[in-house]
C-alpha cells in the first residue's frame, strides 16, 4: 500500500509553486542560521536555490502494528531517486589557526602575530542526486508524542559539488563531511525535532513548560454515530491526528482521492452490515485481528485433537510473547464474529457492558506488507500458552463459540450456507453488531462541510499498559472477519513457502515423511482445503504454494 503524492504543482512554474519555494527557502534559511554554526562558517547560510525535482518520493506502508485513537505504530518504506537539488551559499574561514583561536580561551592562546590573519572565501555547495531508501518506524502515542526512527541509514548516495571541486582533497572532504551531516540529520536530528514538535502539539505539560498553548487534538464532538449502551465504556472517537487537517478548515491541508474514499466507505459499510461484498484491498494482508484468549486455547486443542473438522476458517492463537501461532480448522473457534452476531441477536450471555469491560487487553495488527516480504511465523508452532488476559470474557466467548460466522467472499473457502441466514443484516450503524465492540471503521467524516477531512479510525479504548507488548494478540470476543481471514491467508502462504523450502532442502517428494511433517501438513490442509486440496496431499499442494498459495488466489 503506497501513497500517491501529487507532485505536479511543484514542478510547474506557476505562481503558487514559486511562492511555495520562496517560502520554503526562507524557512530553510532561518532554520540553518538559527543554531550555532561552527566557527569555520563566518557568514549566514543562504539558500540560493531549492528545487524538489520532477519525481515524488515513494512512501509505502509496510505494516501497521497498532492502531487506536490515541496511538499508532507503523512501518513505512521511504524511497527517493529524484532530481531534487539544494544550493547553499556562505562564507568560510579557511585559516585553521583563526578558527582555532576563536575556540581556545584567550588567556592560554599562543597569540600569534599574523599567522591567524583571516581569509574568508565564499563557498557555494550544491547537494543533488539524492538517493534515499529507508524504513521508517513511526510510533505515535498521545502522551508521548510522535517517535519517528529510521531503522537503517536512509541515505544511499548524495552528490556534493562546491566551489572547490577542482581541489580533490577539499572535494572529498566536503563530500564526506556533508554526507555525515545529512546522515546525522536523518538519524538523530530529524527524530528529535519531530518528537519535540509533536510534544509541543499534543502534550500540554510540555507545551506549558515552553510557555505555549498545547493544541488539543480531541474533537469537541466525537464522530461516533453509534452510542454504546454502557456509558462508562463509551468509545471516544478521535480524528487521527496524523491525518487530520490543520485547524483552519477553509484550507484543508490533506486531500484524499475520491476513489480511495469510496473504497474505504465501501469497506466500512461492508463491515457494519456484514455484507458479503467486502471489497478487497490490493497488495494488503491483514494480520490476525483478534481471537479469544480462553477460546483460542480451546481452538488450539481442537485443531490438534479433531483434524477432521477442517472445513472453514481457522483461528490463530498467539501466546503472550507472540511466538506461537497455531491454526485451528474449526468454524466454531472463531469467537469474534460469533460474539458479535450473538449480541445483535440477543442470544448472548453477557451484556455489552460486561463484555466491553472484558476487552481491556487487545492488540490489533494490520500487516500491509507485500506477501513476498513476510518471512516470519513458524509453521511448527510452539506449545501454546493460554493467554492470561481474558478473565471476564472467557465464559461468554466460549458459549458463543458455536455461533456461525459470516464468510466474506475474499476468502475462497467453500460457502457455508448456515452462516448467512443466522446473521442479522441491520444496516443502521446504531444497531450494527460491531457497534459495541471494537471497530476499525474507515469512513468519511460525518460533517458534510468537509468531505475530505480525514479517515476516522474509530476504535475502542485499550488499556495503555497493554499496548507495550507489540506481539500480544490476546483473545477477545470481537473480530473483524476480513482481517482475520486475510491474515489466515497470509499465514497459510508463509507456511507453504516454508514447507516448500524445507522440502526442497530435504529432498522430500510426495507424501509426508515424518510425524512432525504430518502435523504441519495437516495444519496446512486446513488452508488448502479452501482451494480444494485435501489432507495428505503432498507435492501437488507444494507446487501450488510456490508462487501464490491456493488460498491466495481469489
Amino acid at each position: 500500500m503506497a501513497f500517491n503524492f501529487n507532485w505536479a504543482p511543484l514542478t510547474t512554474s506557476n505562481t503558487s509553486s514559486s511562492a511555495f519555494y520562496s517560502h520554503a527557502k526562507s524557512l530553510l534559511t532561518a532554520a540553518l542560521n538559527k543554531s550555532q554554526k561552527p566557527p569555520i562558517i563566518v557568514d549566514d547560510i543562504f539558500v540560493e536555490e531549492l528545487n524538489l525535482g520532477q519525481s515524488a518520493p515513494e512512501l509505502e506502508i509496510l505494516e501497521i502494528g497498532d492502531l487506536a485513537e490515541d496511538r499508532f505504530r507503523g512501518i513505512f518504506r521511504l524511497g527517493y531517486d529524484g532530481d531534487a537539488f539544494l544550493t547553499l551559499r556562505t562564507k568560510v574561514q579557511v585559516n585553521p589557526l583563526n578558527t582555532y583561536l576563536s575556540t581556545t580561551p584567550s588567556y592560554t592562546s599562543p597569540m600569534p602575530l599574523a599567522a591567524s590573519s583571516p581569509l574568508t572565501i565564499p563557498l557555494q555547495i550544491t547537494l543533488s542526486h539524492f538517493r534515499l531508501s529507508g524504513f521508517i518506524i513511526l510510533v505515535f502515542s498521545k502522551a508521548k508524542g510522535v517517535t519517528l526512527v529510521f531503522r537503517n541509514d536512509p541515505l544511499e548516495s548524495l552528490k556534493v559539488s562546491s566551489t572547490f571541486d577542482t581541489i580533490p582533497f577539499i572535494k572529498d572532504y566536503l563530500q564526506e563531511e556533508i554526507e555525515r551531516q545529512v546522515r546525522r540529520l536523518f538519524q538523530e536530528e530529524l527524530p528529535v525535532a519531530v518528537h519535540r514538535l509533536s510534544l509541543r502539539l499534543w502534550n500540554p505539560e510540555y507545551a506549558a513548560s515552553l510557555g505555549l498553548d498545547a493544541h488539543d487534538p480531541d474533537p469537541s464532538s466525537p464522530i461516533d454515530g453509534i452510542e454504546d449502551g454502557s456509558g462508562d465504556d463509551a468509545m471516544a472517537a478521535l480524528i487521527n491526528p496524523l491525518l487530520s487537517p490543520s485547524d483552519n478548515s477553509d484550507t484543508p491541508s490533506i486531500a484524499f482521492s475520491q476513489k480511495n474514499l469510496v473504497a474505504l466507505k465501501e469497506l466500512s459499510e461492508a463491515q457494519k452490515t456484514l455484507s458479503i461484498r467486502t471489497p478487497g484491498i490490493s497488495d494488503a494482508v491483514f494480520r490476525v485481528w483478534a481471537s479469544g484468549g480462553g477460546s483460542s486455547s480451546a481452538g488450539w486443542e481442537r485443531s490438534v485433537d479433531a483434524p477432521s473438522t477442517l472445513m472453514g476458517p481457522r483461528t490463530y492463537t498467539f501466546s503472550d510473547t507472540g511466538e506461537a501461532i497455531s491454526s485451528a480448522a474449526s468454524i466454531s473457534s472463531r469467537p469474534g464474529l460469533a460474539t458479535s452476531s450473538s449480541v445483535s441477536t440477543g442470544g448472548g450471555v453477557s451484556t455489552p457492558g460486561t463484555r466491553t469491560r472484558g476487552k481491556k487487553k487487545k492488540h490489533r495488527v494490520v500487516n500491509l506488507r507485500p506477501t513476498k516480504e513476510s518471512t516470519h511465523s513458524d509453521p511448527a508452532p510452539d506449545k501454546p500458552t493460554t493467554s492470561t488476559t481474558q478473565t471476564t470474557i472467557t465464559s461468554a466467548g466460549r458459549k458463543e463459540e458455536d455461533l456461525p460466522t459470516p464468510q466474506t467472499p475474499t476468502f475462497p473457502s467453500p460457502p457455508q450456507p448456515q452462516l448467512i441466514p443466522s446473521t442479522p443484516t441491520t444496516p443502521t450503524p446504531t444497531s450494527s453488531p460491531f457497534s459495541q465492540e471494537e471497530r476499525v471503521v474507515f469512513e468519511s467524516p460525518v460533517s458534510p462541510t468537509s468531505p475530505f477531512a480525514a479517515e476516522n479510525i474509530t476504535c475502542s479504548q485499550t488499556s495503555p499498559s497493554e499496548h507495550r507488548r507489540p506481539h500480544l494478540r490476546t483473545g477477545s470476543a470481537h473480530s473483524s472477519g476480513i482481517l482475520e481471514q486475510a491474515f489466515m491467508k497470509k499465514l497459510a502462504h508463509e507456511m507453504q513457502k516454508r514447507i516448500e523450502e524445507e522440502r526442497r532442502r530435504r529432498g522430500v517428494v510426495g507424501g509426508a515423511s515424518g510425524k512432525l511433517w504430518c502435523e504441519v501438513e495437516r495444519e496446512l490442509a486446513g488452508v488448502g482445503l479452501g482451494a480444494g486440496i485435501g489432507v495428505g496431499m503432498g507435492m501437488g499442494m507444494g507446487i501450488g504454494g510456490v508462487g501464490a498459495p491456493p488460498a491466495y488466489r481469489q
Partner: protein, 371 residues
C-alpha cells in the same frame, strides 16, 4: 588600560630586566596599541592593592547585563618596589601607546646573578605566581612565570573551565632573549598545538661590543631593522599556520621624529599588512595600517591616533590620553583614559557607521583604584 595585574607583571619584567619588546609577538605592538585598542563595555570597577611588595590582590566587579566579577592574587618572589599607587602612577605605564624601543642591551652575565653566602650559593630563581577566579562562571586562570636564566624565562598559563573540552587548557612556553635574537617555543594542550617564533635584529650585537657603544655620531645606530617568523602546527587537527615580519624602528638617538614601520606577511593565507606609526612630538602619535589579501582581494585601511592632554605644561605631567581609530571594517573606536583624583578611568565607545539603527555599539566605563 592595563589591568593592575598586567601592570604588576610588567613591573616584574622590569625588576628582572626582561625585555618583552624584543619578541616577535610584539613586532607590531605600536600599531596594535593605536589601532586595536579595546574599548570597555559596561561598567567595571577594579579595587587592587599591593599589600606587601611580594603580594598583590585585585577584586573586580563588572556589570554587563549580569553582575560578575573576579578575584585575583599575585605573588612574586622578587619584591616589586617599582609599583605605584593609582594616584601617582605614570599613565604611560598603564596605557598602551607608541612603543619607543631602546638600544639593545646585552643580557646579564650569569655570574652576576649568583649570590654566595658563607661559601654556599644561596640565590634562587625569581618566580611569579598568579591566579584569577571569575565568578560566577567559575573559570580559573593561572600563571606560573619563572626567570630561569638571564636569557631564559619559562611561562605556563592555564585555564580551567568546565565548559571547555576536557575541562581546561594549559600552555607552556620557553622564551629566550639574547639581545641579538630571541626565540619562543610553545606547546598548548588544546589541539596539541606546537609553535615556534623568533626575532632577529640586524646590526650591532650587544654581546660582542662594549656597552655603551662609541658615542661618535658616525657609528651611532639611529635605527634598528628586525626580522622574524612564526610557525604553528596543531598535531590533533593537522592544521598549520605561519607568518613572517619585518620592522624598522628609529631609536632615541634618531634626530627626527620617532617612526616605526612594519610589514607582515602570511604566505599561506595570502595576507599582507603594512603599518606606519609616527610620534609627532611628546603628546601625539599617529598610525596607519593597510591590510590586503591577495587571494580574496579583501582590503582594509585603519587609521588611529593618540593625543595626550597635559595637566600642567611646566611639570610635564599628563592628565589623560584620547585615543581614536577608524577602520573600514570595525568602524570608529574612541577611548579616553586618564586620572581623576585617586582613580584611573577609561571611558570608551564603539561606533559603527554602517549600521544606522545601532550607531553606538558599545559604551563602557572602567574605574581602577589601587593602593
Amino acid at each position: 588600560m592595563l589591568t593592575y595585574m598586567d601592570y604588576l607583571q610588567n613591573a616584574f619584567y622590569r625588576a628582572t630586566s626582561w625585555d618583552p619588546d624584543n619578541s616577535y609577538v610584539n613586532l607590531t605592538a605600536t600599531a596594535r596599541a593605536l589601532l586595536d585598542f579595546p574599548t570597555p563595555r559596561g561598567l567595571k570597577m577594579d579595587l587592587s592593592s599591593l599589600s606587601t611588595p611580594k603580594f598583590g590582590t585585585s577584586y573586580s566587579l563588572s556589570n554587563l547585563g549580569v553582575v560578575d566579577g573576579s578575584v585575583s592574587y599575585l605573588y612574586s618572589s622578587l619584591p616589586l618596589h617599582n609599583v605605584h599607587r593609582s594616584e601617582e602612577v605614570d599613565l604611560h605605564d598603564v596605557t598602551m601607546g607608541y612603543r619607543q624601543l631602546e638600544e639593545l642591551r646585552s643580557p646579564d652575565n650569569e655570574r652576576f646573578w649568583e649570590v654566595w653566602k658563607g661559601g654556599v650559593r644561596v640565590d634562587g630563581r625569581n618566580t611569579l605566581l598568579f591566579g584569577r577566579m571569575y565568578l560566577p562562571a567559575s573559570t580559573l586562570e593561572a600563571l606560573y612565570l619563572r626567570r630561569m636564566k638571564p636569557t631564559t624565562q619559562f611561562r605556563i598559563t592555564g585555564v580551567s573551565d568546565g565548559r571547555l573540552k576536557s575541562g581546561g587548557t594549559i600552555m607552556a612556553m620557553m622564551q629566550h632573549d639574547f639581545g641579538k635574537w630571541s626565540g619562543e617555543y610553545l606547546y598548548s594542550t588544546d589541539g596539541a598545538l606546537i609553535g615556534a617564533r623568533g626575532l632577529y635584529n640586524f646590526g650591532r650585537d650587544p654581546r660582542k661590543q662594549p656597552n655603551p657603544p662609541p658615542r661618535t655620531s658616525d657609528e651611532k645606530a639611529v635605527g634598528r631593522f628586525s626580522m622574524g617568523a612564526e610557525f604553528y602546527y596543531g598535531i590533533l587537527n593537522k592544521s598549520a599556520g605561519m607568518s613572517t615580519g619585518l620592522r624598522y624602528t628609529t631609536l632615541p638617538t634618531h634626530p627626527n621624529a620617532p617612526t616605526t614601520m612594519t610589514l607582515t606577511l602570511t604566505p599561506l593565507m595570502g595576507s599582507l599588512s603594512a603599518t606606519y606609526a609616527i610620534k609627532a612630538g611628546e603628546a601625539a602619535s599617529f598610525c596607519s595600517r593597510f591590510d590586503f589579501n591577495m587571494y580574496s582581494y579583501e582590503s582594509d585601511l585603519s587609521l588611529g591616533c593618540e593625543v595626550w592632554r597635559r595637566e600642567d605644561v611646566e611639570k610635564e605631567d599628563f592628565a589623560g590620553v584620547l585615543k581614536a581609530r577608524v577602520s573600514q571594517t570595525s568602524g570608529i573606536g574612541l577611548l579616553w583614559e586618564g586620572r581623576l583624583k585617586h582613580l584611573l578611568f577609561s571611558l570608551g565607545a564603539g561606533i559603527d557607521l554602517r549600521r544606522k539603527d545601532q550607531l553606538v555599539r558599545a559604551v563602557g566605563l572602567e574605574l581602577q583604584y589601587s593602593s
